[in-house]
Amino acid sequence: MTRKLMSLSEAIGRYVADGMSLVMGTALEAAIPFAAGHEIIRQGKRDLTVIGPISDILFDQLIGAGCVRRVIAAWVGNVSEGSAYNLRRAVEEGVPHFVDVEDHTNLTIALGLHAAALGVPYLPTRTALGSDVARGHPGLRPIRCPYTGEPLLAVRALAPDVAIVHVQRADEFGNCHLWGNLGVTLDAVRASRSVIVTAEEIVSADLIRSDPNRTLIPGFLVTAVVHEPWGAHPSPVVGYYHRDHAHFREYHERTRTREGFLAWLKEWVLSVPDRSRYMDRLGPERRRALRIAQSALSAPADFGC
């Protein structure tokens, strides 16, 4: 087993290069790797392809910061508030520059990653038949079932260069325990050439091995492990902290204009060197309010011999 613990800036610096494709926000509205996304912005990565089902506001931030050339997603917006203004400015006006959008549905994103995780070039589905999502789509071709003859769509495998996922706890070898809603996380990790994990806690290999069924990401698939408490704020992490609805609302209000977004970006990303300083800025009271108020521990499972 190889120790893979490093700082976030080292992980992003070493494993994310201009022009790469990145899958993020794989658990949907929870455990979105915002800390990693902000480090990508600070390091000025360019021409990225961002992949994910829905991104809540992370993709919007990357687009506004000029990091993104192409979006492969089912939905880009602000889940509780509505529009993603940076996506709109990029697509409608080319500000800061135009981005390509390859539209999907949640299921076609999931199946594209699942195909890559299963080692096959495509998977069939009935979803989106007849829709404009599928029309002329490079990754959704009409086919026929070899048994029934019925029309289907072939979803082309999606194999990102890098998956960035935020988890509850990991050991220094990258073996991760995660729980709550998983979205497309497991397939995204298996589909990607390298995997960066940010974790609320780094724990002993011993603790991780106490529950192999919770080890949904085995360390040998992981390239880098980063200890990054609060690394998903303002999205929630089961067992750690709530969604910061106010932060999403504030982002929505402040990013209606390009100037507003740039001010927001400076305040929350460019002028903070790392997540710990970001959390300082958030302040102790707000952190306390977001922390889960009452534990509810899972009943144990016995793996004895």
Binding site: A27, P53, A74, L87, T105, N106
Partner: protein, 253 residues
């Protein structure tokens, strides 16, 4: 008539679309409240599926802003992968799903991707999310949206979530399972597909709304059911429950 908001009426009408014991692809915002309201009134055994991988029988203890908020995870029936719940949807096990939209057309096709305006400019919307999957694969779906003429064109500029396409037989022709929109619930009325033509027609006017108002807010020559109904207003019990679910009116005002 002014003791409830248009959104409250929409949520109540959505709740009434659910039958007890049904498997529901819930969605967020208004539909979520509709689901919770139905569970506390006539559909206590309804089961909620969420595309993030959550399955719930018992309602969450607090108001949700998103389906991944912690109260939706605590004591859930099951938490897992998106494909677990999407598989159930694709199998045809989901009775009903809810979607919102920027545009809906005569045949119940919904657009949440992009609107082409006059000239060559476009308006970029967030996209499908799971809506295209619900519209494609649920046994029926319900659309909730404000009733405005620009949102109700004869033909949407982009089909994100397929309804009846070009009318009767279209879903079968393109390979979709039967399904389709069972109702479009707006802040003015309820529209349902004509069983023969699959064209949406007005079946119920909300309290205080006139036929002319609905016609003027619809971008095609809207057919009218005979007789057209009046949507029953929320009952005091419905309103009380709904307001206890969203005491600050986050989604209802």
């Amino acid at each position: 008539m002014d003791d409830f908001t248009p959104r409250e009426l929409m949520i109540v009408a959505a709740a009434r679309e659910l039958r007890d014991g049904e498997i529901v692809f819930v969605g967020m915002r208004l539909p979520l409240l509709g689901f919770l309201l139905a569970k506390r009134t006539h559909a206590p055994r309804a089961l909620g599926l969420y595309e993030n991988g959550v399955i719930r029988e018992t309602p969450a203890a607090e108001l949700l802003y998103t389906m991944s908020d912690l109260p939706n995870i605590t004591r859930a029936t099951a938490c897992g992968e998106m494909l677990m719940v999407m598989g159930l949807l694709a199998q045809g096990r989901v009775d009903v799903g809810f979607i919102g939209g920027a545009e809906v057309d005569r045949f119940g096709n919904v657009n949440t991707t992009l609107v082409r305006r006059e000239g060559k400019s476009i308006l970029r919307l967030p996209g499908s999310g799971g809506a295209g999957d619900i519209a494609s694969l649920a046994r029926r779906f319900i659309v909730l949206m404000p009733h405005e003429r620009r949102r109700f064109p004869a033909r949407v500029s982009y089909i994100t979530s397929p309804g009846y396409g070009e009318g009767r037989g279209w879903r079968q022709r393109v390979g979709l399972p039967p399904g389709g929109p069972a109702a479009v619930i707006t802040d003015k009325a309820i529209l349902r597909p004509d069983p023969e033509t699959k064209e949406l027609r007005l079946v119920s006017l909300h309290p205080g709304v006139s036929l002319e108002e609905v016609r003027a807010s619809t971008g095609w020559d809207l057919q009218i059911a005979d007789p057209v109904e009046r949507t029953p207003p929320p009952t005091p019990q419905e309103l009380r429950l709904l307001r206890s679910l969203d005491p600050e009116g986050v989604w209802t005002r």
